[in-house]
């Protein structure tokens, strides 16, 4: 558990929902009946010159664009422009990605299966996980701290933890932190064999009621500009973060969450709402319900994966939701999981887990 507050002063999210315009908060929930949820392409031209955009693959494009959306939102540098000699820069660029560019990796594997040995180096370069963080740095000409985490559902959380540590250590006053993953037809087909997903197309808005094993796959690119001080664009505060590994029984998970809340300053009280990572998998959603009944009775339970699908860095989508919820004091009805109506929300906790192996907690509060 690490407790070191920072302000969320800019956000950029590309997702299967209408999230690219920071002035609007889920104006209309998108419905899909599909094998997986794909991101809605923003107008990349606004951020990347078309000539450059043709040379880079989809995930990198999504990463650079969402990073620049967050920077623009926070009043930093706004697009790839060579005219700006001294763009305002973050003190750190840190990215979490569970799988990196799946598209580039598959391009190489397909070539290898066909017996090719000589390759165009571009897919290889883009398949390297740190390409997103370093491409953002290259576009900004930012020589500051730069890193990438690649640990399943801990990827984005470790990136956030690293940023909060930078603030506490006095190494940075601002950090651009992202979580990004993509899904492809091939990758879905392969990982379906391992039993992770629904076996056919599903309606996203009813996936949490499906009662069948497997999740609905999704993707997204979220970046946040964090600073150690409040600004005119502040959404919310990031308060504490924790990842925990193979904690054991549901009771031990509950104890761990209670200890986290205690260490974050909740004595007898609870956060004002909790966002849970239910994904429609009938084998694991009851686990969330059990935890929620025992640790979070009497507060609103919110859910989000029916909007963006399941992917390793989906808590980027959840953090974008909490940032907007806390700033606007508005909870879109599509997120409500139980019957408790949200009142004034000062603190919101995000709890996500993957098969009781990896668990994460992100606590946020009003600015």
């Amino acid at each position: 558990m690490f407790h070191s507050p920072a302000y969320i002063n800019g956000t950029g999210l590309i997702s299967p929902q209408e999230t690219a315009d920071p002035s609007r908060f889920l104006p209309q929930i998108r419905e899909y009946t599909d094998d997986f949820l794909s991101c809605i392409d923003p107008d990349y031209k606004e951020y990347i010159p078309p000539l450059a955009a043709r040379r880079i693959s989809r995930l990198i494009k999504m990463g650079i664009t969402s990073a620049f959306m967050a920077l623009r939102d926070a009043g930093y540098h706004s697009s790839l422009s060579t005219e700006l000699a001294e763009p305002k820069q973050p003190d750190a660029i840190i990215t979490g990605t569970g799988l990196g560019s799946v598209e580039d990796t598959e391009r190489i594997l397909n070539g290898m299966s066909a017996g090719e040995t000589l390759m165009n180096p571009t897919p290889f370069i883009q398949s390297t996980y740190n390409t997103i963080s370093s491409q953002v740095a290259i576009q900004l000409r930012c020589h500051q701290y730069n890193s990438t985490y690649v640990h399943r559902i801990f990827s984005f959380e470790t990136a956030l933890l690293d940023a909060l540590m930078q603030f506490k250590e006095g190494m940075a006053a601002s950090a651009l932190v992202g979580g990004i993953d993509e899904i492809t037809v091939n990758h879905l087909a392969i990982t379906r064999r391992a039993g992770h997903w629904k076996t056919g197309p599903v309606h996203n808005l009813s996936v949490l009621q499906s009662g069948t094993p497997g999740a609905l796959a999704g993707e997204g690119a979220a970046y946040f500009l964090l600073e150690n001080r409040v600004s005119p664009s502040t959404y919310a505060r990031l308060l504490s973060i924790d990842t925990f590994y193979k904690p054991g029984t549901a009771r031990q998970v509950q104890n761990h969450i209670r200890e986290f809340l205690l260490a974050s300053g909740f004595n007898e009280s609870r956060p004002d709402a909790v966002i849970l990572g239910l994904n429609g998998d009938s084998l694991w959603d009851p686990f969330y319900s059990q935890i929620a009944h025992n640790v979070f009775p009497g507060i609103p339970w919110l859910c989000y994966k029916h909007l963006c699908g399941e992917y390793y860095t989906s808590t980027g989508f959840a953090l974008w939701l909490t940032a907007n919820i806390l700033k606007r004091q508005e909870v879109p009805p599509a997120l409500l999981l139980n019957d408790i109506k949200p009142g004034r929300l000062e603190t919101v906790l995000i709890y996500n887990q993957d098969r009781n192996i990896n668990h994460s907690l992100i606590l946020t509060g009003t600015a």
């Binding site: 996980y129 390409t131 540590m165």
Partner: protein
């Protein structure tokens, strides 16, 4: 924030040895691990030399005490053996209190099995056991499970500086009071995937790599794993365990120049080394040895060399690249070379830059070419630079 970070355990498995003692023997004998590929099958095996770990996966499984049914990748096997050595070297199996973390680095992850069974993945269920071991986190979790580490785990990937950044993160978690000890390092197996990738970039040398040589013509890829045990001052207090080094400086900087090339003047390398030096509180003259990134590519060695000249001025410490011993262990290079640097300090020697004959016209200095015993080595700098300009420099000093 003033918590000091000590190195209490080392574990390494590479082409020059299955463990720390074998590695030391090879270093003292100036014995390189570069040769022909024996285990990995690729048409490029005949075109380039490699620094392959000499054991097959079955032999590694035996060394790790695992049964062949478990779906282990080569990456995980290499990592398990090296991390376990570090863990035992530090005597951690006997120390019960406090919090222990594991920070591991890799970039190829389980690609060795993925590239072998990719067609099966797409067409049938025969190799499903290898689907979930493809990603970077798999080896980290397998190693953590075998070492019994639960308090904190994560995986880092910044290409060829990955393991140096894993050490950096581990140290910061100790300094910020989150953990008492961290096993940190990296693991990387050779795969056809990245051999093809480096070949497509045209940066593989047809002969064993020749860092800092005027004739140098690229990298020799290697493989292996290396982990360090980092501990806080409180964690080692009252104990009688040996301390191998103190991590007194680190710097991470992004070149922000090009996805695969260094800037001509090595800006990122300079900034990383400068940050590390400033943090250590040492004067440039306090650094007695630099274990350079020194890949042997035209581009890296000029950029790194110029950055060293810029930082150290007229008093450049002895410099060598140990990649002619181990090959470029990519995501494991940072921790492997940190260990070799610490061995220099422990045994008071300087390691030679093998395969060197002709000085580079662009540089004022030439690397160390002979094993220098009885050298004064009180502080060492270890450089790791990666694609994307992810540059990191670490400074270890003799523990006091």
């Amino acid at each position: 924030m003033s918590r000091r970070v000590f190195v209490t355990g080392l574990g390494i498995l590479s082409s020059i040895g299955r463990n720390l003692p074998e590695t030391l023997d090879s270093l003292l004998a100036s014995r390189s691990g570069i040769g022909h590929l024996r285990h990995l099958e690729t048409p490029l095996a005949h075109e380039f030399p490699f620094a392959e770990v000499r054991f097959s996966n079955n032999q590694l499984m035996e060394m790790a005490g695992l049964s062949p049914q478990e779906g282990h990748t080569r990456n995980a096997l290499l990592g398990i053996i090296a991390a376990r050595e570090a863990f035992h070297h530090a005597g951690l199996e006997k120390s019960g209190t406090g919090k222990t973390g594991f920070v591991s680095a890799t970039t190829v992850g389980g690609m060795d099995m993925c590239e072998k069974y990719y067609t099966d993945f797409l067409t049938n269920d025969s190799r499903n056991i290898y689907i979930d071991v493809y990603d970077c986190a798999d080896s980290t979790e397998k190693i953590a499970d075998l070492l019994g580490i639960r308090d904190f785990i994560t995986t880092l990937s910044t290409a060829c500086s990955s393991a140096a950044n894993a050490i950096l993160l581990g140290a910061r978690m100790i300094r910020t009071g989150q953990l008492d000890r961290v096993v940190a390092g990296g693991t990387e197996s050779l795969t056809v995937f990245h051999i093809n990738g480096f070949n497509a970039l045209k940066i593989l040398d047809k002969v064993p790599c020749r860092p800092f040589d005027a004739q140098r013509n690229g990298i020799t890829l290697g493989e292996g794993a290396a982990y360090l045990v980092l501990e806080s001052e409180e964690s080692i207090r009252g104990g009688s365990r040996p301390l191998f080094a103190e991590l007194t400086g680190y710097g991470n900087s992004c070149e922000a120049f090009h996805q695969t090339a260094s800037s001509p003047d090595g800006t990122g390398a300079f900034l990383a080394m400068e940050k590390a030096l400033r943090m250590s509180g040492l004067e440039p003259s306090g650094i007695h040895y630099i274990n350079a990134h020194g890949t042997g590519t035209d581009n890296n060695d000029i950029a790194e060399g110029l950055a060293i000249e810029r930082l150290f001025g007229s008093r450049i410490p002895p410099v060598s690249s140990t990649k002619p011993f181990t090959g470029h262990m990519t995501s494991a290079a940072g921790s492997a070379e940190a260990i070799l640097s610490i061995l220099c300090m422990e045994h008071r020697f300087l390691l030679p830059n093998l395969n060197f004959s002709t000085p580079m016209p662009e540089l004022r200095f030439a690397p160390v070419t002979e094993l220098c015993l009885d050298s004064e080595v009180e502080a060492v700098m270890s450089n790791s630079f990666g694609f994307g300009g992810n540059d990191t420099s670490l400074i270890f000093t003799r523990p006091s």
